[in-house]
């Protein structure tokens, strides 16, 4: 008989980039050397992934914040967030405009054209609208330009955000809401100075997290987390995986950071499945 601990647990992830296979092959290789081996399966969208987790097809799901909130709602709070990337616990949305156009805060968006990313992107659509609502700016107070590319992947590809930025550069929109990861990507080397500038940064919130149901034993989860947190940026083998997945280290999730999205999903009547 095979000891229970050596049977690989199955992690589900969405294939949001061509590097996903490399990342998960690397993760599988790393965990093969531990007492908590894993295998993985890729889905084409987060709706399917959440279904597979709830249906017991996978033991763990590498969820976006929206997929986690979905799982939370569908399991009536029974699911658990286990770990996130260091970059996930300090995520932000960024409002940007062409440089020198005088936008100085959310209020400046009133009456203007705002480009949003995919409608299932927490960072580039759902939360930006939520922040506008909280500032007293309703959907009718701005001209929304929704760029719904890659729906189902919760904005992971970043494509809709790049399209929103193009709309600003091409003067088809006055402002755009994007994730801080896209903002950091396009401003590397300060090349956007004089072209695009940010005029409002949201409070920090939480993004992706490994999500499990109670069926996954706490004992196994604790052992697996200890192995996960032991991945080391200074180790070149680990680093290759961490770099591709966009983190320096794995950290415990920040559950408070999901509050704003839980509120937004409720208020905006976001459907249960996308």
């Amino acid at each position: 008989m095979i000891p229970a601990s050596t049977v690989p647990r199955l992690i589900g992830s969405v294939a949001y980039s061509p590097n996903v296979v490399t990342v998960w092959e690397g993760m599988r290789a790393y965990f093969t050397g531990t007492d908590t081996p894993i295998d993985f399966v890729l889905f084409s969208n987060y709706g399917r992934l959440v279904d597979a987790l709830i249906g017991g097809t996978v033991d763990l799901a590498w969820n976006t914040n929206l997929a986690y909130v979905r799982t939370l709602l569908q399991t009536k709070g029974a699911c658990r967030a286990l770990a996130s990337r260091d970059t996930d616990v300090v995520f932000q949305s960024v409002f940007v405009s062409r440089a020198g156009t005088g936008f100085d805060g959310l209020e400046a968006v009133r009456g203007r054209r705002l480009a949003l990313g995919s409608r299932d992107s927490a960072q580039a659509a759902i939360l930006p609208l939520q922040y506008l609502h909280e500032a007293g700016i309703g959907d009718d107070d701005v001209t929304l330009m929704r760029i719904d590319s890659d729906v189902g992947k919760h904005g992971d590809t970043g494509r809709s955000e790049l399209d929103a930025l193009r709309a600003v550069l091409d003067d088809r929109a006055d402002a755009a809401a994007i994730g801080v990861n896209t903002w950091q990507a396009i401003t590397r080397g300060e090349i956007m100075t004089g072209a695009i500038e940010s005029f409002w940064m949201s409070p920090e919130y939480s993004h992706c997290t490994f999500t499990a149901l109670p069926a996954l034993s706490t004992e196994w989860a604790e052992a697996w987390l200890a192995d996960l947190f032991a991945m080391d940026w200074e180790n070149p083998d680990h680093r290759a995986i961490l770099e591709l997945e966009g983190l320096r280290r794995w950290v415990p999730p920040n559950l408070d950071g999901y509050g704003s999205l839980i509120a937004a999903v409720a208020e905006q009547g976001i459907p249960d499945r996308w």
């Binding site: 590097n19 550069l169 396009i186 590397r188 300060e190 090349i191 956007m192």
Partner: protein, 339 residues
Amino acid sequence: MVNHGLVLDLIDRLGRIPAGSTVTLDVMSGTADAGEIADNIDMIATWCRASGNALVESRHDAVVVRHGRSPDTLAGLHPDQVPGTRLWMYTNFDCNLHCDYCCVSSSPQADRRALGADRVARLAEEAEPAGVRQLILTGGEPFLLPDIDELVASCTAHLPTTLLTNGMLFRGARLERLRRMDRERLTLQISLDSATPEQHDAHRGPHSWERAVAGIGLALDEGFDVKVAATLPAEQTHEVAPFKAFLGTLGIRPENQVIRAVAHQGAAHDGIELTVESLIPEVTITADGVWWHPVSATDASQFVRREIFPLADAIADVRRRFVRHREAADRAADWFPCS
């Protein structure tokens, strides 16, 4: 005006390809203005540097960007091949011989262009901290120098050293200089091209074979570790068994028998073509500065820089250029063995 949308296009396209793959991005984007195109390329280069992606090629109308960092070129080399593992020093360029294939055109008429005792001493001192593990002194014929024993002593005081010579001048004061050298730390590398005089003498001059063989014997008798290096036309480098057997009878251990092909450099009319793109560098110092490789230490296209010191900077410069060439060429270099 620079087109910032290009960076958005680039990020988008990089996101669609696996790490390690490349995209070719049109940087003209509807403009024919050379200044604007150059600005676009600058912007892409800046972004690549800051974002950890590699700009592997930049043409007049397009750039090629690799998703992610380029593989570590230096880490991919055998440790012995990492540029700067060995440091070559041309002590002088004059020579008692006038070989027809000499890669630096040495001859009795050639200017000495001596590196000098002070520079050799400083190089030897800076070498080990800069990561060098072996020093190699070459020429011209180093034994023409009145202070060759001093140069060798300042090298062997720091690192194992190899001295390249034609082995023909071990007499009188020059023999005394040889005898003063450190047998523990010095290897003599003597040139000999064939098992019989004809071929050697045809390229290196009458009676040179006989005197070289005598020099090899003398150096061995004096207790030195002796390597023998043969320079052969490329087509002959495959038929070396008789020659190797001959070297064995002289007492040269198999690992001390070096066979190399004639390079198309200096006085040689033909030979293997060596370019910075195809040649893993061997950091080489002459009185004029730093060169890519000892076989091309008079070829202006392989001059690296005038400043020799600090040596660590010179080595870093050679490595940087090598990585750049490798990335651009992305093809295996032919390794031209030199010692």
